[in-house]
């Protein structure tokens, strides 16, 4: 195959990702003139929307930033509000919140791998034809996805835009019987997860072996493979408390995109499953470490396509760790179904002097920050939300710039597919990535 001297790629609204993104490549006589990852999604201005709103609705509004990670957004938002007012949670509720994040992680990763990535690996355009050609596999994926969703429903009330999560805890929590049933359902799912793992193992050779050194950022916590809580960890720098998130996420604006870009120690960094794996793999459950071994995933892994495998590893981790958390809750003799009341009218919570609060959680696509400032009546005066996909945009761009010259000699459709797969590997959540709030410009 000879070199492509001229090549124009314009993948408008790349499919099987959440939100709208374009890939534009122009090559003239072997020279790359343009290589861009564009995000033309309509901006939604959440940071401006929440100004003037009361502390007890912010989580409701900001949940709407993203349908897929609405539990994560809700939790980041609640943590920010709780930090601002010094609201403490019970151990029980923290465990339930961790379960909620696991549920979301499971649901999102299964959706991504099963419905969005699998078609690429199997050479079809969507999961729909697979339903007739590979009914058993599709039904297996559907079953796991369903269990994950039922888990969110049970903990949060609803999978998308959860109702039970409120400042200070839960309006309603599952009974022990319900938790037991959930545990049984999860245990029954192991077989299915193994089937999917084996299927992916057989297809894994189709993942391109491309590497580019970059910085990885994720929450870290000495006790836990961090999702709910931790410090900001980096493969390039020492970890720091989340209050210093702005030092890590320097956001900037590029003209071809309505989403903001971010950089830290280098020109770009990566967040998400692979970043978490690279930073926290020692804290993974036994079974998930085994899966990583099966796929030859080793820290530090610089191949962005391996994010897909890191997601599979996390599916196993979230699944196993959920069972552990449920066991702990079941063993807790003081577990009762006391619920938190939503004090819509008067915040009865202790006020701290600082009315600014920052909340960070790991959502499927990476680290997510919400930062709110409230006035003395409990109305929001300022907000900033930094979304994982935004933090990844610059890294996607950098990967593309590194990848394209390496594959220019391949047929156009192959180049297109590899680029699409690259973008998809990041599992970008573009609709949320544009809901950017106020940023400092440097």
């Amino acid at each position: 195959m000879h070199k492509n001297h001229n090549l124009d790629i314009d993948l408008h609204y790349i499919t099987r990702v959440e939100g709208h993104g374009n890939i534009v490549i122009n090559v003239k006589e072997g020279k790359i003139e343009k290589c861009q990852w564009q995000v033309p999604e309509a901006p939604r201005f959440f940071e401006a929307m929440v100004v003037g709103q009361k502390w007890d609705v912010l989580h409701h509004i900001t949940s709407r930033i993203c349908g897929i990670c609405s539990i994560g957004h809700t939790l980041a938002s609640l943590k920010a509000t709780e930090a601002a007012f010094g609201i403490k949670l019970s151990e029980r509720d923290i465990k339930l919140r961790k379960l909620a994040l696991h549920a979301e992680n499971l649901q999102s990763h299964v959706l991504h791998l099963g419905y969005l990535v699998l078609p690429d690996l199997m050479g079809v355009g969507s999961v729909i034809p697979l339903a007739s050609t590979h009914p058993a596999e599709v039904k297996t994926v559907v079953r796991i996805h369903k269990t994950a969703n039922e888990m969110s429903d049970l903990i949060c009330g609803r999978t998308t835009h959860p109702q039970r999560l409120i400042p200070g805890g839960f309006t309603k929590i599952p009974s022990k019987d319900e938790l037991k049933n959930l545990k049984d359902a999860l245990n029954a799912e192991w077989n299915d997860i193994e089937i999917v793992a084996q299927l992916l193992l057989s297809l894994a050779p189709k993942l391109p072996s491309f590497t580019r050194e970059t910085e990885f950022i994720a929450l870290t916590n000495p006790n836990d493979y961090a999702f709910y809580d931790g410090e900001i960890g980096s493969t390039d720098a020492k970890s720091a408390s989340v209050d210093r998130y702005l030092e890590y996420t320097n956001e900037y604006i590029v003209p071809h995109s309505t989403a903001k870009y971010a950089k830290h120690a280098r020109e770009s960094y990566m967040v998400g499953a692979l970043a978490r794996y690279n930073l926290n793999h020692r804290l993974l459950t036994k079974k998930s470490q085994d899966i990583a071994g099966l796929f030859g995933l080793k820290a530090l892994c610089y191949n962005p396509y391996m994010n897909n495998i890191a997601q599979l590893v996390e599916i196993v981790h979230s699944w196993e760790d959920s069972i552990r958390l449920i066991d702990e809750l079941l063993a807790d003799n003081s577990y009762d179904i006391q619920r938190t009341n939503m004090h819509t009218n008067v915040p009865t919570y202790q006020r701290t002097n600082v009315q600014q609060g920052i909340g960070a959680v790991e959502v499927p696509r990476g680290i997510l920050y919400h930062d709110y400032t409230y006035d003395d009546k409990g109305f929001c005066t300022k907000a900033n939300c930094i979304i994982p996909t935004n933090q990844n945009h610059a890294n996607i761009q950098a990967d593309m710039e590194a990848l394209v010259p390496q594959i220019l000699d391949r047929p156009k459709n192959e180049i297109e597919l590899m680029l699409e797969m690259l973008v998809r590997a990041y599992d970008p959540c573009i609709s949320c990535s544009t809901h950017m709030l106020k940023v400092e410009f440097c």
């Binding site: 609204y13 499919t15 099987r16 959440e18 939100g19 999604e41 309509a42 901006p43 939604r44 201005f45 940071e47 401006a48 929307m49 003037g52 709103q53 009361k54 609705v57 409701h60 709407r64 930033i65 349908g67 897929i68 609405s70 969005l116 078609p119 355009g125 969507s126 999961v127 729909i128 339903a131 599709v138 039904k139 559907v142 996805h145 369903k146 969703n149 009330g157 609803r158 998308t160 835009h161 109702q163 039970r164 839960f170 309006t171 309603k172 604006i253 003209p255 309505t258 619920r339 009341n341 939503m342 004090h343 819509t344 009218n345 609709s431 949320c432 950017m436 106020k438 940023v439 410009f441």
Partner: protein, 250 residues
């Protein structure tokens, strides 16, 4: 021939399309009755030849109007999905502020790169045949609408307030629990799911056709809400339709 259906999205969280994916095995069953020809979030193929277009999201910039009009021209039936598409949803909160200010607040001096105008339901741009409200849509209601359309019927979307379903569910009224809600003026159909879960009705399905909003504002004030708090309650989801609220600024 099976009806050809297509999904589109505008300014939204894509949670409604996710609800459709979340139908799980029932989605597979539904797929036996229809042919999906466009679903960007889930498939690569795309065709402009479709009978029913499901649209999620609000129209928030003039540049999106053309794409909407094209969809309308191609489709026999247009169904709006979710609060953003049916009532403008949460996107309309920004309508209460000056739009330039909003852009500056989020994007600083580069604000001009970011096109936006008053967020609106798609009905404000093109004719919509049926509306499936809620944030996110209720899977069961989506199925009932789909079944109605597949059998040539007009779908049933209630025109009574959430209180009706809340009472049928035997809930304790949130006002008796020291909270307040907008269920009395909000369109039912969700089965009062938020109240069932211990929360309040936020109004995500929009106002009923003939809501007694004046009465409700009075009641909210009687329950000690300040005028600003009352207004916020209405701003949350009723921004486009509640003409009594502060007029949106362009």
């Amino acid at each position: 021939m099976k009806p050809r259906i297509a999904f589109f999205d505008f300014a939204s969280c894509e949670g409604d399309q996710l609800q459709i994916v979340n139908l799980e095995e029932r989605l597979l069953e539904l797929l036996q009755h229809v042919e999906v020809v466009s679903f960007r979030e889930a498939m690569k193929e795309h065709s402009d030849n479709y009978d029913i277009a499901f649209i999620e999201g609000s129209c928030t910039r003039a540049s999106d109007e053309e794409r909407l009009k094209k969809i309308r021209a191609n489709a026999k039936i247009v169904v709006a999905l979710g609060s953003c598409a049916t009532i403008g949803g949460i996107n309309c909160i920004k309508n209460y502020r000056n739009q330039t200010e909003v852009r500056k607040e989020v994007y600083g001096d580069k604000y001009e790169l970011f096109d936006t105008y008053l967020a609106r339901p798609i009905e404000a741009v093109i004719k919509v045949d049926y509306k499936v409200p809620q944030c996110p849509i209720n899977k069961e209601e989506f199925l009932s609408v789909a079944k109605a359309l597949l059998t040539g019927q007009k779908p049933f979307i209630p025109d009574y307030p959430v209180c009706v379903e809340c009472k049928m569910n035997g809930n304790v009224c949130v006002f008796e629990k020291g909270m307040t809600c907008v269920g009395p003026v909000t369109r039912a159909g969700c089965g009062s799911c938020c109240v069932n879960e211990g929360a309040i009705c936020w109004g995500c399905r929009g106002l009923i056709d003939n809501p007694n909003t004046d009465a409700h504002k009075e009641v909210l004030e009687k329950y000690n809400l300040t005028p600003q708090e009352v207004m916020n309650k209405f701003k949350l989801y009723f921004g486009w339709s509640d003409t009594n609220a502060q007029k949106p600024q362009s």
